[in-house]
Symmetry: C2
Subunit: 339 residues, 2 copies
DNA sequence: TAGCGATGCGAAACCCTTTTCGATACTTTC
DNA sequence: GAAAGTATCGAAAAGGGTTTCGCATCGCTA
């Protein structure tokens, strides 16, 4: 019984037991008109008794729609893809749409293979989730279903893409520090091999400029996305510019390293120096000492929006181009005071 | 073109263009016998030209198998579910099976709804991933497809479950410390509300016993899965038993807090005190100072095994009961020396 | 009582593919 | 030249559901 030995009950079974034709049974179960109430109840009763579940395959075959979408990710380890996937799953789950999960592991051959498999399963649409903000190759314009690119935009302008506004997010971080009264603000950036690094740097500079301030230490420090770099950069920073009163870090990992060195060197946080991170990765921010203020990219919301956009596109209401979602500050203990 | 306006090409289209019947076209494309080579080539050519993808729905409807499985998780945030899901996806991807992703968010109503949806889509099997080691309610024994429970076993002995051996994992950690010459070993445990906490504590005590040692400080410290608890517990530990030379922490987060306090108090790691964590959560272990040795639960392998077991069950080769997977040590800088 | 519309139900077509089996046409053998 | 055998192909059914359309049956009116 637990392994497919017993054929699943079909509409024919229900109809036979209810003493009606399959046509009538179908109408009865789907609330269609033209069925006497008494007959309808009899059919519904039998269906419930047999635990009848209509075969979605047969239904889809006829309807031309499957109520499924493909979720194509390039790396499931990435802490960016996952919240996005959660948002997508959440939005579709509510809409009775099932999600096919595929991980291409950054391999374009494997990706193509997955796309083929999904199309042969007649998904109603595709969502492609990237893990870097650099544009990625389009899946192509000839696909029979709509595609939404998330986090990594497509390199084709006619595709639909949904991305984070890193520039504005970084500006937000700086504004938060400025509002807190900080004057000597430094920026420890991440890996210069990433577009996101430069976007955040640009946003930070623009906001400083707008506030009439300039970078403490005169320059941005580029490195990597690690705590070790956060530690090293902070040491350099404190040597160069001991009067620094706020540090905007390109990621929470960097910020954790930064916090550690500041404490080692006897600086009070946030009184002497405020620190703000980026990503709002809870395991890092909440466990920090003090807890770390950070820029949240609202990735789950991004995923939900992607699902919504895909739905619109499935209903023939395409809106091509790149849409940006803005970040928000999540304030914690590492930034507040300074009287 | 990019939004389903053009009906996907069907086998009928191919057959018509190739000037043969659908039967012949099918045989030609599937390598069946009884088709002249020249005809076969013509059909294959046309199919390629039209980018024909056979409709998997129709095929499944006929075959009685869909080549899909449902992956039911209770929380996608959990750092345990994700590597398991990766392993599952990996194993099935290679087998041309597609995975439906469903997140019940710990809600049993939502879970039931997802199960119904998956069954109506005629999945060939289900994998249920939990996030705690406590047994979870069985989905029931009357399902038409096999089910494999992963990480959280089912509470019904006839179901198939695949879990981590936390007891053995903790023993491994202690053995690693003992082998390194440590004599005064303490254990900072996690949240006592978790079964895993007690399993690990039991494994640690057993291994100490086997090595003829007893717990430094005489007792296990229970708390929570946070860095803050790691810090607090370590301070207590050092006050009670300054001569401690190794600490086994119930999680990597606890270990991070532990490392921090040890360094604050001037202990050299690993020379004075060795520290070992549990989970091998890379963002925590690799970024630690020094890098943290940890017990790896091999979750991805667990996921792969689950996929494999499900396949066997689909082919009617069920093996009910709970199977345990053993952990392994990943050694890093926090444990090695002591001459 | 014949005629009418409304109502309830069932036969059949359709979605797309695979598979079986029967029908050709062609070759070989006696 | 007829019978037997082989190679190639197509018609049709099956899988499970939805929808259209035609057919009864019923109550009602003239």
């Amino acid at each position: 019984m637990a392994n497919g030995s017993s054929r699943a009950t079909t509409l024919t079974d229900v109809a036979r037991l209810a003493g009606v034709s399959v046509a009538t049974a179908s109408k009865a179960l789907n609330g269609r008109a033209g069925v006497r109430t008494e007959t309808r109840e009899r059919v519904v009763d039998v269906a419930k008794r047999l635990a009848f579940q209509p075969n979605a395959l047969a239904k889809s075959l006829l309807a031309g729609r499957t109520g499924t979408v493909g979720l194509l990710t390039s790396d499931m380890e990435g802490r960016f893809s996952l919240p996005i996937m959660m948002g997508v799953e959440d939005a579709f789950g509510a809409a009775r749409t099932s999600v096919f999960l595929c991980d291409a592991r950054g391999d374009s051959i494997r990706e193509q293979h997955h796309v083929d498999a999904l199309l042969s399963r007649r998904v109603d649409g595709l969502i492609v989730v990237g893990s870097r903000t650099e544009p990625r190759p389009s899946l192509g314009r000839g696909l029979p279903v709509p595609v939404v690119y998330v986090y990594s935009p497509s390199d084709h302008p006619d595709d639909m893409s949904l991305v984070i506004d890193n520039v504005a997010g970084a500006s937000l971080a700086i504004q938060h520090l400025v509002t807190g009264g900080r004057k000597r603000i430094a920026h420890i950036a991440g890996d210069p091999g990433y577009q996101a690094t430069h976007d955040r740097a640009r946003g930070a500079e623009a906001a400083l400029d707008a506030a009439g301030l300039s970078l403490a230490c005169g320059r941005i420090h580029y490195g990597s996305w690690t705590e070790a770099w956060g530690r090293g950069a902070t040491r350099m920073l404190l040597a160069d510019e001991p009067a620094v009163d706020a540090i905007f870090c390109g990621s929470d990992q960097i910020a954790r390293g930064c916090l550690e060195v500041l404490r080692d060197q006897g600086r009070e946080i946030p009184d002497d120096v405020a620190v703000i991170g980026f990503d709002n990765w809870e395991v890092l921010t909440v466990n920090a000492r003090p807890e770390l203020t950070s820029v949240d990219m609202r990735l789950e919301e991004l995923g939900r929006r992607a699902a919504q956009r895909l739905y619109e596109a499935i209903d023939e209401r395409m809106t091509p181009g790149v849409e940006m979602l803005h970040c928000q500050i999540v304030q914690r203990g590492s930034t507040i005071p300074l009287n």
